[in-house]
Subunit: 527 residues, 2 copies
C-alpha cells in the first residue's frame, strides 16, 4: 500500500497539492499517529486559491441573502448526514468525548449556528439598512470580499475554519471563504469540506464559495492575510501567531478579527461564599475541568477574600480537583504549553495547591492543577500572574479586602468574560458595585453567579472583549446578526437613481426587512 | 511687550507648558507669521493629560447619555456666541473665505454636528441595545475610554480635534477627549477650547472631559496613541503620518479610525457627455476648485471616453480652469505637497492641459491644474496615477472603451467616494451596471450625477471606505448615530441581576429607546 496525500479543495475540485511537505495528526488518547497524510500548501497553490476566491467574490456581488441562506441550510443538513463519521473522526483527532460533547453538544451547536446565520442572511437583518429621505442618501452593509478563516484546535466543529462561527458569518455576508484547517484535526476538516462541496452543488452556488487548505508555512500565512485580493480575516488561536498575522493584516489595511487569549477572571464575594461555598466549588470545578479546561472562556483566575471564606473555597476546590478524573488534552503541544504556563506562574511565586505535574490520566494529560497567590503578590507582578495556562488549571488570588479586589480589577488585561458571585440576600451589593465598575470595561461579557464556559449563540452575546482578548472591543465572534457585520463594508448610496439601488434600500419593502428610516426602525415601505 | 506662549488645557485649567519648543501659524493670504505663540508639549505634560482623561473616564462610567447631550448642546451655543471671532481667526489662519465658507457653511455645520451627536446621546440610539429574553443575555455599546482626536488642516471647525465630527462622536459615546490641535490653526482651536471649558462649567461636567494640546513630537504622538490608558484614536490627515500612528495603535490593540487620502474617481459616460457636457464641466469645475480643491472628497480622477466627447469635456474644463480665479491654499506645506503630487503624475507620463505652476493668485497658491493620460497609460502604471495631489487640480483618464473603464475601476485603490454620470434617457444604463459593479466595492459612498464634495451629516452617510482611504471599511466618520459606535465597546450582560443592568437594558423602557428584542426592533418594555 502506498500512502497518498490528501488533496486540497480549490474551485470545487479536489486538487493534488504541489507541496513536498506533509503532516499527520496524532490521536491524543492513544498517542498514535493517525493514518491520514495532509499537505503543507506552497505559495503558488495558495495564490491559485485566492484567485478563485476573488473571482467568486466578483461573481456574487449584489446577490440577495437568500442565496447564501439556502447554501448554509443545505450545508447544515449535509453535516448532519455525516454526524456519525464526524463524531468518530473528531474524537480520534482531539480526544474530546463523543457524548455529550461532540455528538450532543458541539455538532448541534455548529449546525444551529449555520442555520441562525442563514436566517440573518435571509432577513437581511445584518445589513443595517438606513434611509435618509431628506438627504436622499441610503446605506447598508455589503460583502467585504474573500474571507480567510483560521480555526483553533479546541473546537473541531463550532469554530472550525470551514464550519464554525466565523465561517458562517463570512458566508452570510455574501463572501467566499478560504478555510485554513487546524493541523490537529485535518480529517474532521476534510469531511466538512466534502459536505460543503455537496451543498454548493445542491444549491447551485459558485464552486469557489468554499475552499480548503490544511496548512501553510508561517511566511505564507502572513502573505495570505495581507494579500490585496483578501477582504478580511478571522483567526482564533494562540496569541503569538495571531499577533504576527494581525501585524501583517493591519499593515495592509485588512480587517482582521482575532480571538487570542483570555483568563476570564471570577470574583467571589464574601456573602456568596458564606451562603454557598460547596455549591460554588462544584460549579467552578465543573466549569474549569470540563473538556480538560480547553475552553477560551475557562475560568483561569479566581479572586477570593482572605481568611476562612477564601481558605474554605480553596480547600473545597482542591479536594474536588484531586478527586476528579484527569482528562485527555488535545495534543502534546497543548500539554506542553499548559506546563509552561503553570511553571511560569509558580516560578513567579504562586503556591501549588494541587496537581502541577504531567500525567494522571489517559493519553496526553496533565494533573488538574490549582495554584494560589496573595493579592499583594498579584499586584506586585500583575502581568505574569495573568499568563494564560490553557488547560485544566486555575489560579486563585487571595485578596485582603474589597479595595484590593478593585485594585486587582484595575490591573486586569482585556478578557472575553468576567464574573462576580454575590449572595442572594444583597449583603454583597455594595462590593459588587465597586468591582463591577472596574471589571465592566475589561471584559466583553459580564456574568452574575454563573461560570463563563458555555457561550450561548444569542443575538446579545459578546464573545469578544478588549485587547489582548481580541483585536477590537467593538465586535463579537458569536451571535447573529452582530458577528456577520465584521465581514461587511459600509456602502452609502448618494442620489443613486431608485431602480439602481439594492433591493433592501428601495422604497418598497416587500420582504419586511427591518430598516432605520429617518432615525426610526420600521418594516414598512418608504412613503 | 514680551511674547507669552499660550497655555495648554489640562484638567480644566490653562496650564503653562513645560516645553521649550514653540511654533506660530502663518496667514496664507498675507504670508505673514501670526502673533500667537504655541507650545510643543513634552511627554511629561502629555502624560499628565492622559492621567486626567483616564480618571475622568472612570468617573463617568455608566453615566446616561443625557449628561453628554447637555454638554454638547451647551458647547454648540458657546461656539455660536463666538462666531465672529472664530470666523476672523480661522480666515486669518487658513485663508478660507469668511463667507459663505466659514460663517455660513462650516460653522453652522459644526454646531449642527454637535447637536445631532447630542440627540443620539440623549436617545441612546447609538448603543444598539439588544435583548435576548430566552437566553437572559442583554448587550449594548458602552464608552471605550479616553479618545485622542487629531484634526486635519482643511476644516478648522468641522473636523477640528476639539469641535468636529470625531470629537462629537467620542463625547456622545461618553468618553473624555484629548484634542491634538492642527498646527496650521492653533488660535482657532484655542478659542474652541475656551468655549468647551465654558460649557463644561455650565453643565457641571468633569473638568477633564475636554483637554487640549497643540503639538507633540512625532515620537510622542506615537506614544500617545499606543498608551494603555487610551481607549481609541481618531485621525484625519496626511497618509504618511497616519500610517505611523496606525502601526503604533494597532500593535497596542487600540482601535484607530483614520481618514488618510482619497482621489474620488468620477466616471463620465457617453450619454451624459452627449447630453450635457457644458453643465458637467461647470459642475466639475465648481466642485474641484471650491476651497482651492482642499477637500478630502475632491474629484481628483475623472474617467472619460476617448474621442470627441472626452476631448470636449477636457477642453471645456480646461477653459474654465484657466479662467477661474486661483484660490489661496491653506499653507506653504499644502502647496508644496500639491506641487510634488502634480510633478509625480506628470513625470509618470501625464500631459499638462492647463496650470502646473506655483502662483497665479493671492498669497500661497498654485495654478488650477488639469492633467490627462490615456487609459493604456493608466493601466500600465495604476499606482502612480493614483497619487493624491491635494489641491485645485485633477487628472483626466481618457479610456478607449467601457471595458477599459472597467479595467481601470478594478485597479482603483480604496476611496471615500466614487461617482458615475449617465444620461437621463437610459442609454448609459448597461455601461453603468458594468462600472458600478467594480466601483461599488472600492468606495464608501457611491454617487449618481453628483459631485462628491459636500458631505451631508446624514444617518445614511458613509464618510469612509476601504484602505487606504481609511483604516477599516466598516466605519463612517460622519453621520449619527453610526459614527459614534466607533468609540464604543460592546458590552454583554449574561444573567446579570435585573436591578444591576444599565437603564437602557432594563425591562422597562420609559424613554422609548429603540432596542432589538428577540430580533425585532421595538420601543416597548420587555414583557
Amino acid at each position: 500500500m502506498t500512502s497518498t496525500v490528501h488533496s486540497i479543495l480549490c474551485d470545487g475540485q479536489w486538487i493534488k497539492s504541489q507541496g513536498t511537505t506533509t503532516f499527520q495528526a496524532v490521536n491524543p488518547t492513544t498517542e498514535e499517529t493517525l493514518p491520514g497524510i495532509f499537505p503543507v500548501s506552497p505559495w503558488d497553490e495558495i495564490d491559485a486559491v485566492i484567485n478563485v476566491a476573488a473571482e467568486t467574490s466578483r461573481e456574487m456581488r449584489g446577490w440577495p441573502g437568500t442565496r447564501f441562506a439556502e447554501f448554509l441550510e443545505a450545508y447544515a443538513n449535509a453535516i448532519e448526514a455525516r454526524a456519525e463519521l464526524l463524531v468518530e473522526t473528531a474524537h480520534a483527532e482531539t480526544g474530546l468525548a463523543k457524548s455529550p460533547r461532540l455528538k450532543d453538544g458541539e455538532l448541534p451547536r455548529t449546525t444551529n449556528q449555520l442555520r441562525q446565520a442563514a436566517n440573518s442572511a435571509r432577513t437581511e437583518s445584518w445589513r443595517v439598512p438606513t434611509i435618509d429621505t431628506a438627504a436622499n442618501i441610503r446605506s447598508m452593509f455589503g460583502a467585504i470580499g474573500p474571507v480567510v478563516v483560521f480555526g483553533p484546535n479546541n473546537f473541531p466543529y463550532a469554530y472550525n475554519g470551514i464550519a464554525g462561527g466565523d465561517f458562517a458569518a463570512a458566508i452570510a455576508a455574501g463572501n467566499p471563504v478560504i478555510a485554513k484547517g487546524h493541523p490537529c484535526h485535518p480529517e474532521t476538516t476534510r469531511i466538512f469540506a466534502e459536505a460543503a462541496l455537496e451543498a454548493i452543488q445542491a444549491t447551485g452556488m459558485p464552486r469557489g464559495l468554499v475552499q480548503l487548505i490544511y496548512r501553510t508555512s508561517h511566511e505564507d500565512g502572513v502573505k495570505l492575510v495581507s494579500d490585496e485580493r483578501i477582504g478580511a480575516v478571522g483567526y482564533t488561536g494562540a496569541r503569538q501567531t495571531g499577533l504576527k498575522l494581525k501585524a501583517a493584516a493591519d499593515a495592509a489595511g485588512k480587517p482582521i478579527y482575532l480571538e487570542l487569549s483570555s483568563i476570564n477572571p471570577v470574583f467571589m464575594l464574601k456573602g456568596a461564599l458564606k451562603e454557598r461555598t460547596a455549591a460554588l466549588a462544584d460549579e467552578f470545578t465543573g466549569s474549569c475541568l470540563m473538556a480538560t479546561g480547553q475552553f477560551c472562556t475557562n475560568p483561569g483566575l479566581v479572586i477570593v477574600p482572605a481568611g476562612e471564606l477564601g481558605e474554605g473555597i480553596i480547600a473545597a476546590v482542591a479536594e474536588r480537583f484531586s478527586k476528579a478524573a484527569v482528562g485527555t488534552m488535545l495534543s502534546a503541544g497543548v500539554r506542553e504549553s499548559f506546563g509552561i504556563g503553570v511553571r511560569t506562574i509558580l516560578d513567579a511565586g504562586a503556591s501549588l495547591v494541587t496537581g502541577g505535574q504531567s500525567g494522571g490520566g489517559k493519553g496526553v494529560c496533565f494533573q488538574n492543577t490549582l495554584m494560589r497567590v496573595s493579592g499583594r503578590q498579584f499586584l506586585a507582578n500583575p502581568h505574569v500572574f495573568q499568563t494564560e495556562a490553557f488547560g485544566n488549571g486555575s489560579l486563585f488570588v487571595v485578596a485582603d479586602s474589597v479595595e484590593q479586589m478593585v485594585e486587582i480589577g484595575e490591573l486586569l488585561e482585556g478578557n472575553l468574560t468576567g464574573g462576580i458571585y454575590s449572595d442572594t440576600a444583597g449583603s454583597d451589593d455594595a462590593d459588587y458595585a465597586l468591582i463591577e465598575k472596574v471589571l465592566r470595561i475589561k471584559v466583553g461579557r459580564l456574568l452574575n453567579d454563573k461560570m463563563p464556559t458555555g457561550v450561548a449563540v444569542s443575538s446579545a452575546m459578546n464573545h469578544g472583549g478588549p485587547f489582548p482578548a481580541t483585536g477590537h472591543p467593538g465586535f463579537t465572534a458569536v451571535g447573529f446578526p452582530a458577528s456577520i457585520t465584521r465581514f461587511g463594508m459600509l456602502q452609502s448610496y448618494d442620489a443613486v437613481r431608485p431602480h439602481r439601488l439594492p433591493s433592501v434600500l428601495q422604497s418598497k419593502n416587500p420582504g419586511g426587512v427591518w430598516r432605520r428610516i429617518n432615525g426610526e426602525w420600521s418594516t414598512a415601505d418608504v412613503t
